[in-house]
Symmetry: C2
Subunit: 261 residues, 2 copies
């Protein structure tokens, strides 16, 4: 499915609180959909703890293997906020207070009637050569260095930062998808669906069962870069379902949008 021109991205979720189950990550689906809108394919995601060696090693590996890397978490003022220092080390550059980041924090804290102390100063530490990512919510910026984009973990701030990043990405073609829902068991559809998958190698066919309180349903999702191919594949799935005695319900949603069930 992924062609040689596919623009790939890896998401690195940094934080003990996600691995402990305390915090339920809500950023992955949002980032996946927003990236897809600009033709960048989320191809891997990792959740790792607040351990410097692990962060440094993983940033290096993902930066090498994917077109873009996005990190969330660990850029606040407390001792466990070590992402900026680790990314600097991973990319082999120094890190220090950045004058523009400091200026933004000074304005923000002056407006809030709070003083800048040493802890808050930490949030102005930016790796050498990085460019800042705007934080319209709470001022403390993210940054981009090489192909690595460092963002906050708080969803509202992360989303605002990502909105600023998206226009800077060089994407390929977005994936488009059509979801067809029916009540046939997967085991009845499987043979025909497998044949369709072979016959349409540029389209991705997914089958996702779900149980609602009252009924069993399968969502069949066809995805691809070429809208005409995806439409042709969707019609072939509709015919398959009709031949098996059921009727497919077409769920309209924009590419990547979550559909109930």
């Amino acid at each position: 499915m992924a062609s040689s021109e596919t623009i790939t991205a890896a998401l690195l979720i940094i934080g003990n609180e996600v691995l402990s189950g305390r915090t339920h990550d809500k950023n992955l689906p949002h980032i996946a959909e927003k990236l897809n809108d600009v033709g960048v394919r989320l191809t891997e995601a990792r959740v790792i703890p607040d351990i410097p060696e692990v962060i440094i090693r993983t940033v290096r590996e993902l930066s090498t293997n994917f077109t873009y890397v996005f990190t969330t978490g660990g850029i606040g003022p407390t001792h466990d906020d070590i992402t900026a220092d680790c990314v600097a080390e991973a990319m082999g550059v120094s890190i220090d207070i950045d004058p523009e980041a400091l200026r933004r924090l000074e304005v923000h804290y002056a407006n809030s009637g709070l003083e800048i102390n040493e802890a808050r100063l930490r949030m102005a530490r930016i790796p050498e050569g990085a460019s800042l990512i705007d934080n319209p919510i709470s001022a403390a910026p993210g940054f981009r260095i090489g192909n690595v984009h460092v963002m906050a973990g708080v969803p509202k701030i992360m989303q605002a930062m990502l909105d600023g990043i998206l226009p800077t990405l060089k994407g390929g073609r977005p994936m488009v998808s059509i979801t067809l829902r029916c009540s046939l068991p997967e085991g009845r559809i499987a043979e025909g669906l497998g044949k369709l998958a072979k016959a349409h190698p540029d389209v991705d066919f997914g089958s996702y069962p779900a149980w609602t309180k009252t009924a069993f349903q399968v969502s069949l999702v066809v995805r691809g870069e070429d809208p005409a191919q995806v439409e042709t594949a969707a019609q072939a799935v509709e015919k398959l379902i009709a031949d098996l005695g059921d009727q497919a319900e077409r769920i309209t949603a924009r590419p990547g949008e979550t559909v109930p069930g």
Copy 2:
């Protein structure tokens, strides 16, 4: 924090539907909490696409680096359900129809009035030497081979499978945690909290800001294996917050449980 006796686990979430943003993974927090209850620490999680080479390579890497590996997704009857075959290849063993898995499917489908066809037979394919993991919901078993546990992706089925796995794991000490909530900005707490983190090296201090509709709050989470050390650390945090002019609210929750805010 992690001692040499720490029993670690990696979670491997397999599925294009998670990376596209269509399906929001709900399994990670559940698995993290359940594993912690038996003294196994979720130390990394990855989300990867339905690509055989990626699955095989990742299973090998995680199986080598962690005490236990848990996978979710890709064990149904459709063409995109390739987890069992990939895990067999990763572990260097053959895969074929397992008589006991087949028997369970035969009973299940006979009771449901459905026929076993080729697609459904796929769900009885089990790597050589693996032991079955019961599926009390829909019969098709998961399996364990070496330190790798292969489970369904549908949460209800995954949870039932995990309940069967937990008693078989050899865990260490569970992490216990105490959450203290206050209204001080992180930047005021940071210096004192950093000092406490240095003074209590066996306890993990996390700081997680959250905005509700009406208020800003920070949850300070102290976690560790020794309940007495965690209690001492929590009291030190309470004193820190009191010294800064606020009062900490102790949130009671069982270890790992998600607390609002």
